[in-house]
């Protein structure tokens, strides 16, 4: 921004130039003035201006005219000279530089030594005057002494800085220092102007009310005859609004580049033209696709096509973006080395003024790990389902082969024992008959065990069929069945049972098991009583079967429902230890619970709950 083009000093350098205070004394001059007056500027300072001329009256008149009219030109004067007859005739022009209403004004006077060049001098003067006028009108002008103390400010300076003139005169520029610029910058300013060079740059200043303003600033040093600056003219132009725009622009530019940076860092980015030809691919794109930038540019996305997606899917993508709509989806791509990767993809069409896409920006995120995990889960699930199916089939074939293979030999044992019993009984002694009885008894038990085990296994794959069951009817029918097979009798009391929605045949099995158990384990009592009740619980129906039989120790209750787990020997009470396991399995299948309470010698109560489905 720096611009060292000189503007005003050229005039002041070439022609003798004086600044004169209100009292008519010289306050400053330039080299040319020293030369023509033949004394140093130091000597000239505080010299009465008019005494420099052979016509002091005329000179004084010029100053008066300048201070009243603002400007005077074409005044012919002759400088005094040390040599006789060497009159230095010049044509003077002067203008008054007002420092404000109550302040004494300064008169600038410029002499042209070229009489013949009168017209051009006029022009110079006029130009200076115009310039000053324009400057005052358009610019923010301040003059400081060589120490930087403000000696003059124009109206514009006051209005932008919001200070009164009186508050500014005598101060230095620190009064409007914004502290925005680095020290180095300010030092450079001072070094430049102290060396007599013009400094130009943009400054941020602070107004009286604390607000900031930007000024395009040119500081022109005025040099004395030693070439040292004795005052500085600072011309400023208000560029606050431009700076604000610039700052906004800069901010948004920075934001944009920040976004781009963040995007490039975090995402896989590619830009294609409307035909899908890749115009840009960022580092992440290259890295994941394993193609170099050069290999990608000019190609279309088929270069990374995995062939995984159906044609209709890809067509839908193109239709979407060609219609100017954003497409989002998950894509499987193929890298250069043939490996696959998954990307979560957003394709944004950029539309021209006709609303047609002229380019597409595709932003992708690597989701390969997630996809792999998902695929793995799917595979694992399939595997699991397959294994469950296999296992179920295994169980089925196991139960079939158990029934077939174990029953065969058992049938033979039974059959041949029966033949022995029927045809050789007459020649058997008592012990032989007893031993044969044991064989038959155990073979029978084994048959029951196998049947129970099969029933238990069968439950695993039996579907639960739900229907509304009248539990009173079901229980009565179950008791009838039991009475046909069990010889013991008990006093069975049914207390009006609540109906339930469940699988009829399965529930019949549970009831049958619990009631026959109750009868069995109370069979050694004198007055066996079995009580069947029900009550409504919290969203469930609870049924109970209690007896006054042998009961059980609560310590062993966890063993009650295990397969082949028994609390009594088969000699004491016959049984295989599968019945309650089956009952539990049935109740579990209904999402219910089964449990028991008991006291040794006093009886037991078995409960089961079923969810109340309305």
């Amino acid at each position: 921004m720096k611009d060292n083009k000189t503007m005003i000093p050229g005039y002041f350098g070439r022609e003798p130039f004086f600044s004169i205070n209100a009292e008519g004394y010289v306050t400053a001059c330039n080299y040319a003035a020293e030369r023509i007056c033949e004394i140093t500027s130091k000597e000239l300072n505080n010299t009465s201006f008019k005494t420099l001329f052979t016509q002091p009256d005329l000179a004084e008149e010029m100053l008066q005219r300048a201070s009243t009219a603002g400007m005077v030109s074409d005044v012919h004067l002759s400088f005094r000279s040390s040599k006789e007859d060497d009159h230095k005739n010049v044509v003077f022009g002067a203008f008054c530089f007002s420092n404000g209403e109550d302040q004494p004004s300064t008169i600038f006077a410029v002499a042209s030594q070229h009489e013949s060049d009168e017209g051009s001098f006029q022009n110079i003067l006029k130009e200076i005057a115009d310039y000053k006028y324009a400057l005052d009108e358009s610019s923010i002008v301040a003059i400081t002494d060589q120490k930087g103390t403000i000696t003059y400010v124009n109206d514009n300076f006051c209005s932008i800085s919001k200070y009164d003139r009186s508050e500014l005169i005598g101060q230095d520029h620190r009064i409007i220092n914004s502290a925005y610029h680095p020290k180095e910058f300010i030092r450079n300013l001072w070094v430049t102007i102290a060396n007599g060079k013009i400094w130009r740059d943009e400054l941020k200043n602070r107004a009286k009310d604390g607000s900031y303003y930007w000024v395009d600033t040119t500081i022109v040093p005025f040099l004395n005859n030693q070439g040292k600056p004795y005052k500085y003219l600072a011309i400023r132009a208000d560029i606050t609004s431009r700076k604000a725009v610039e700052e906004n622009l800069e901010t948004s530019l920075k934001e944009t580049s920040d976004y781009k940076y963040a995007l490039d860092e975090s995402s896989i980015v590619a830009i294609t033209d409307q035909k899908g030809i890749i115009k840009y691919a960022n580092y992440n794109f290259c890295r994941i696709s394993k193609f170099s930038y050069e290999e990608l540019i000019g190609r279309d996305h088929r270069i990374i096509n995995s062939g995984h997606h159906p044609k209709a899917f890809i067509r839908n993508l193109w239709v979407t973006i060609a219609n100017g709509k954003i497409w989002r989806g998950e894509l499987k791509n193929k890298a250069k080395d043939g490996s696959y990767y998954w990307v979560d993809t957003t394709i944004i069409p950029f539309l021209d003024e006709k609303g047609k896409p002229y380019q597409y920006v595709a932003i992708r995120a690597d989701i390969t790990q997630r996809k792999l995990a998902e695929e793995e889960i799917i595979i694992l699930n399939e595997e699991l389902e397959k294994r469950v199916k296999e296992r179920t089939e295994e169980i089925e074939s196991f139960s079939y082969s158990v029934s077939h293979d174990l029953r065969g030999p058992l049938r033979a044992v039974n059959g041949y024992a029966k033949i022995l019993e029927e045809e050789y009984r007459s020649i058997f002694d008592e012990e032989a008959k007893r031993l044969l009885g044991e064989v038959q008894h155990n073979a029978k038990r084994m048959g029951i065990l196998i049947d129970d085990l099969l029933a238990f296994a069968r439950l695993g794959r039996q579907e639960v069929q739900g229907s509304l069951i009248d539990m009173n009817k079901l229980t009565a029918a179950t008791i009838r069945d039991i009475n046909q097979t069990i010889t013991h009798r008990a006093d069975i009391r049914i207390k009006n049972l609540l109906p339930v929605k469940a699988d009829h045949s399965l529930l019949e099995h549970v009831m049958g098991n619990l009631i026959s158990n109750a009868i069995k384990y109370s069979s050694k009592k004198e007055n066996p009583v079995v009580e069947i009740k029900s009550k409504r619980g919290d969203c469930e129906l609870i049924y109970s079967v209690s007896d006054n039989g042998v009961g059980f120790d609560m310590e062993y209750q966890h063993k009650l429902f295990g397969v082949f787990q028994r609390l009594h020997s088969a000699d004491e009470f016959p049984g295989t230890g599968v019945g309650l396991a089956i009952a539990q399995r049935i109740i579990n299948k209904h999402k219910g619970k089964i449990w028991a309470e008991g006291t040794p010698g006093k009886g037991a109560t078995f409960y089961f709950s079923l969810p109340e489905i309305i």
Binding site: A412, G415, Y416, A417
Partner: protein, 146 residues
Amino acid sequence: MDNTEIEILLVEDNSNDAELTIRALTKAKIANSIVHLHDGAQAIDFLFGKGEYAKRDINNKPQLILLDLKMPKVDGLEVLQKIKADELTKRIPVVILTSSKENPDIEKSYALGANSYIVKPVDFEGFAKAITDLGFYWILLNQNPL
């Protein structure tokens, strides 16, 4: 080969089961003439006069076939299929013998034209009763169309 009328053809690889079956049938006086074959291949040869039975009169057909499903070489289902596919034999009643009612082959047997099935019970009385009931029905009551 003699031309004695065959009442029952028993195809059963388990010799214990076969012995007990024959015993039950004879004891109940249902059949006097029972032919016992040990596998499916033998049964086919017997029925269609092939192999070792090449000289047998294939028109001397049994009145009832008791057919075990699980047999080595040619299993019961295959024998059943051949019997029911041939004009010569398709009207002979076939009763399937199986160890388990869980056997999915029972359904296939019916689809192939089996007339009935017996689950061989574990206990001998049950077994004998089932065999005699079936034999009684098919031999003595059921009027063979041929």
